[in-house]
């Protein structure tokens, strides 16, 4: 579904991603782990071109998105993204946060979007917040709304960048359970996280990144049960 070939990315002379090739299949639940600064966010953000690769190509559903002629807005409509700091629009109600993109991109009418928003909000148990503003919500509620907002575009893949890292511990669970439901529904997901429990339970494949490379990957059993790379062993000994 997403094909990454020889992806490199530099900020100035600092090379953050080093010749990464990877393929994400439909239905995959890829979990990316690794130490801070290893390039996890940069890799994830490259997938929907929030970061522009310096070299290499990325193809999504047969469309080469790194081609300057590709309409990136069209591609992004099919890729949902959830950020560490939620990035809800504070100047709009929750409902408008959710319906803005589907309506403006012509995906559906306002009435259809409103109905979809209520349906999605019900799914995450927040329908009574439809007319509230983001500042009136807790972190966990904000992140669940952010997930709903991305889902309203009916994406084929969801990208998560440390969705629970900015949350108070007691709110992590409510967000992870929404993500687990999503995974169970068959959504293709790429998740950067420090939640090893989630990685083990939900991940179909774990990628371990270090210094801009994917140095080891495998099923959760392989990666957590029988790590090979010394950096991975070292990393796991610190986080588990």
């Amino acid at each position: 579904m997403i094909d990454v070939k020889h992806l490199s990315k530099s900020f100035g002379d600092h090379q953050v991603l080093k010749d990464i090739s990877e393929h994400i299949y439909p239905g995959d639940k890829v979990v990316i782990i690794g130490p801070s600064g290893s390039g996890k966010s940069t890799f994830l953000r490259s997938l929907n071109l929030l970061e522009l690769p310096t070299e290499g190509s990325i193809t999504f559903d047969g469309v080469e998105i790194t081609d300057p002629k590709t309409d990136i807005d069209q591609v992004r409509r099919k890729m949902g993204m959830v950020f560490q700091h939620f990035n809800l629009f504070p100047n709009m109600t929750i409902k408008r946060n959710i319906t803005l993109a589907p309506v403006r991109t012509g995906l559906m009418s306002q009435a259809q979007a409103d109905e979809l928003a209520m349906q999605l909000l019900r799914r995450v148990g927040l329908e009574e917040k439809a007319n509230a503003y983001p500042n009136q919500l807790s972190g966990g509620q904000k992140q669940r709304i952010a997930i709903v907002r991305a889902l309203a575009m009916n994406p084929k893949v969801m990208l998560f960048d440390e969705p629970t890292s900015a949350l108070d511990p007691e709110m992590v669970g409510e967000v992870l359970s929404v993500m687990k439901e999503l995974a169970a529904d068959g959504m293709t997901m790429v998740v950067v996280t420090h939640e090893m429990g989630f990685a083990r339970e939900v991940g179909s494949r774990i990628l371990f990144m270090d210094e801009g490379r994917i140095v080891e990957q495998g099923t959760p059993e392989e990666v957590f049960g029988n790590p090979q790379n010394p950096r991975l062993k070292d990393f796991l000994s610190k986080v588990l």
């Binding site: 700091h85 990035n87 629009f89 803005l100 993109a101 500042n135 575009m153």
Partner: protein, 254 residues
């Protein structure tokens, strides 16, 4: 009226007048005799007109300059557009010159050098104030755009919204709310700076006051009167801006 003439005569002869009699005479002289209040009123009209024109021009210029400068700064390294680079340089020179020279000097140059043949002093004044204000407004807008969390625009774009929609629905409304107090402040500075166009012959309130005390030789009442009018105007506009700010802040309620 007859009272005024009698007391005025008494005052001129150095006769024994009470404080209130003297106050009455001078007040009458400064504001009522010969319907002089009309001159102040005209001055207020000019002040408001010049403020409105200068504000409109300032905001248009400010948006233009801020747009050029932010889009220039947001370009990717190695993909710089030379036309944008040139425009950006022009904008930088403009902002530097305007912010680096006194308003008064700018007015004198515009009035007596660049538009020395124009007799429409009020419009030259409005133009100068607008050009001046544009430099400050552009910096205010740029500050507002830079202060906004880049995650907001990223979230908009990641949903598939295009650049224009992201600016229109997400970035600009938030930036506008953030800069409104500074814009209001700039507006009030502008309102008060209209008093300067008097130096190139603009017929605003100070001009009226000067014309009047040129005939009566009594400066205090016309000048304090003008000060009071400015004060009242500023208080009214500050109050109106406060209302606007409160309405925009609705979404911040927790």
């Amino acid at each position: 009226m007859a009272q005024y003439e009698a007391w005025k005569e008494l005052l001129r002869q150095g006769g024994d007048v009470s404080f209130w009699q003297e106050f009455y005479v001078k007040f009458y002289q400064a504001f009522i005799e010969g319907d002089r209040w009309r001159q102040y009123l005209q001055g207020v009209g000019t002040t408001l007109l010049v403020t409105a024109l200068a504000l409109a021009l300032g905001v248009i210029l400010g948006i233009l300059v801020a747009t050029i400068r932010t889009s220039h700064d947001q370009q990717r390294i190695g993909h710089r557009n030379p036309v944008l680079g040139l425009l950006n340089a022009v904008c930088q020179v403009y902002v530097t010159i305007i912010r680096g020279t006194p308003m008064m000097v700018q007015l004198l140059i515009m009035g007596f050098v660049i538009f020395s043949s124009s007799r429409n002093y009020t419009m030259v004044g409005a133009l100068t104030l607008g050009i001046n204000s544009g430099a400050y407004v552009s910096e205010i807008i740029r500050g507002g755009l830079m202060a906004l969390d880049p995650g907001q625009a990223e979230a908009g774009r990641s949903l598939g919204l295009n650049y224009v929609d992201t600016m229109r629905f997400i970035v600009i409304p938030q930036a506008f709310k953030a800069i409104l107090p500074s814009l209001g402040n700039e507006f009030i500075v502008l309102l008060k700076d209209t008093s300067l166009i008097n130096v190139i012959g603009g017929k605003e309130m100070v001009y009226a006051a000067q014309a009047i005390y040129g005939r009566t030789y009594e400066q205090m009442f016309p000048l304090v009167g003008v000060a009071c009018i400015y004060l009242v105007l500023v208080i009214i506009f500050t109050w109106l801006l406060g209302i606007l700010e409160r309405r925009l802040r609705q979404s911040d309620r927790r």
